[in-house]
């Protein structure tokens, strides 16, 4: 069976939807971050699939590399914020962090 563009787009849509579900249904800040990583991975997979099947050049793969860079920067800053919140509020559940100061 030949694997074509639609297979990759469908897989990417499934991963994206699961990421959306994770972001919407969780309270734990780090699990929400994992959902964001799923969404970013789905987007990068789409870029690479289009770069191979439609554009036939490297531009999509280069965008995917920049997506990975942004994801790394986002994970570092977001986890630092989670640690700071945990130190100040003793919780990592986003629905319990509803004050601007202690």
């Amino acid at each position: 069976m030949e694997i074509g563009l639609n297979h990759y787009l469908t897989l990417s849509a499934v991963l994206f939807s699961l990421g959306v579900f994770t972001v919407l249904s969780r309270r734990h800040a780090i699990v929400i971050l994992m959902g964001v990583e799923l969404i970013l991975n789905a987007a990068a997979l789409n870029f690479v699939a289009f770069s191979r099947f439609v554009a036939e050049n490297l531009d999509g793969q280069l965008v995917a590399v920049f997506i990975i860079v942004i994801a790394a920067a986002e994970a570092a800053v977001a986890l630092a914020i989670v640690l700071a919140i945990f130190r100040n509020f003793q919780t990592v559940y986003v629905d319990q962090v509803d004050r601007l100061q202690r």
């Binding site: 849509a13 499934v14 991975n41 700071a84």
Partner: protein, 168 residues
Amino acid sequence: MISGLIWFLFAGVSVGSAVVVATSKNVVHCGFGLLFTLLGVCAMYAFLGADFLMATQVIVYVGGILVLVLFAVMMTHRIESNRLRDELVQPVAALGAAALVFGLSMLMITRTAWDEKVPGEALPTTSSFGRAFLTDYLFPFEFASVLLLVAMMGAALITREKKEEEDQ
């Protein structure tokens, strides 16, 4: 035929572990589910002939981001408390929204007539990447390095203990 079966195997691994990320009540299980999802996406990059991107995915995502995530999970729980657990809240509404997103994506994917070509042989991409980064993509490349530096300094600044200010 065989490569199609292997493709579906890796796609199944990705989707199955993404379901674990989305539904598991144990945060550590979510982290390990994310590990296998990322490795499955890495296999997809291999199928798409993106060798440099595949290596980057393993090194940055699996070796860096995932270790950072698990490190943060371990840092932010106490053994006596129940912090490693996370229940699903509003699962019906979230499922509805996710199903809506998925349905609209599938509608768009199946209705659009993509200008799909039969891909040629997958060639090594690393030298082309180096050339592109230092010619056409020079500004994004340098900007990404500045962004990483700022993110690193910001993360260090946010997590720093502020003992001196609290003493005053």
